[in-house]
Amino acid sequence: MVISAETATKPVRAVGGFFAITLDTFVLMFKPPFAWREYLAQCWFVARVSTLPAVLMTIPWAVISGFLFNVLLADIGAADFSGTGAAIFTVSQSGPIVTVLVVAGAGATAMCADLGARTIREELDALRVMGINPIQALVVPRVLAATTVSLALSSVVIMTGLVGAFVCSVFLMDVSAGAWVAGLTTLTHTADVIISMIKATLFGLTAGLIACYQGISVGGGPAGVGRAVNETVVFAFIVLFLTNIIVTAVGVPFMVS
């Protein structure tokens, strides 16, 4: 089988293109004029499509984690610590991860579809002709909007998760409410919450950048847009899970000490 140099170097060039756009975005982020209107519109848009799915997805995971921890703790006679388990699981893992799954699955896909459709209709070229840098006008506000909403949403998700786990433990599995609440801060401290927020911010930033890169570099009609959106989801999830393990491994010494 003969693979042309073009095909063989495609992934390398894609990674290069991604870093080029990332660099451009970071440089133009601090260069006026900042596209406020687009930023606010995108924030509202991402928040609108993400909030309900995020809440709907958190509740099941809160219930299941509460359930599994309680089964385990009840068996060793430590059901009073069920709040501790719920706090660890929700604050450090499920909160940021659910946020990112939803921001990548709902917000980033829509961004990529929108930018991809514009690329195909050559609207981005039209912007360039008019002397407007599409990265400054479209990419920067979108990336920042994904970051902002991701940070804000992770708090909502963590709160929902904790309330869900509380209801499940206290009303369904007969854990004492006071012991549950008192157990929350046994192992979860300020450092965990800060690391969780750093995670959510990084996740939103990465998801936004991947979506915008895929949207801008799309080609080949409707099938191309569909493929680009699909790739956005896959690459975003891969990078996010990778970021999660790295940030967790780096943050763990701060969390346990």
Binding site: K10, P53, L56, F67, N230, V234, F237, I238, V256
Partner: protein, 284 residues
Amino acid sequence: MTLSVPSGLHPRFQRMRNAAVGGWNQIGSQTRFYATTLAGIPDAVVNYRSELLRVIAQMGLGSGALAVIGGTVVIVGFLTITTGAIVAVQGYNQLASVGVEALTGFASAFFNTREIQPGTVMVALAATVGAGSTAQLGAMRISEEIDALEAMGIRSVSYLASTRVLAGVIVAVPLFCVGLMTAYAAARLGTTAIYGQGSGVYDHYFYTYLSPTDVLWSMAEVAAVALMIMLLCTYYGYTARGGPAGVGEAVGRAVRASMVVASILIVVMTLAIYGQSGDFHLAG
């Protein structure tokens, strides 16, 4: 058509009613699509076998840029490696902070099998196989290829949707097995090689609490989740409209809907399988 009427009597009320009726009709048409798809599975096996095999091969290996990085198997393996390693990193350290880090092997056997890996594989399936089907079918719908199939006398739901649903369920279970293996390996490697726990301690607690029944139940969970995801994703792809942007939107909607529905399904199945007592005994 309502266009011939100059203006309605109660426009706001009418709009609300139309929205409600439209939503209701959409539920109906969605249900009918699912019924047609499931009923078309025998038809697909008998008449469209080559297409079925092609779709299975494509789902296992991926298409386009996803095939370049190794396809669905590699993506699932990669995601489960990271979540398995999380069990080592977070589990080992949190357990060490209360002095029972010896139980990390137990945490891997218990949480990986019952909750974390079905969840991770669900996410991976929705992103790769599910969203990929939506993108393909959506692009076909937009470029009127589905109408062309119908015009050629091919039953498009059986040919496109039923084959993909069946193929998704068929590839899901082996993918889950691969994912579970890599997750166990990552958790073991992280705990023993990186955090330096004795591998005998780890293996002892791991094998003591690894329950084959749990693994089988999780496989059943993943198969059910795959069926749900494929039904949702083929529906959104099959009914995509609105040009190139519409395909992208359909993919986004499919990913969102399938993750929410699959999460709820996993919880319902977990509670149904293990019951309120959890079917678990630490002391044996």
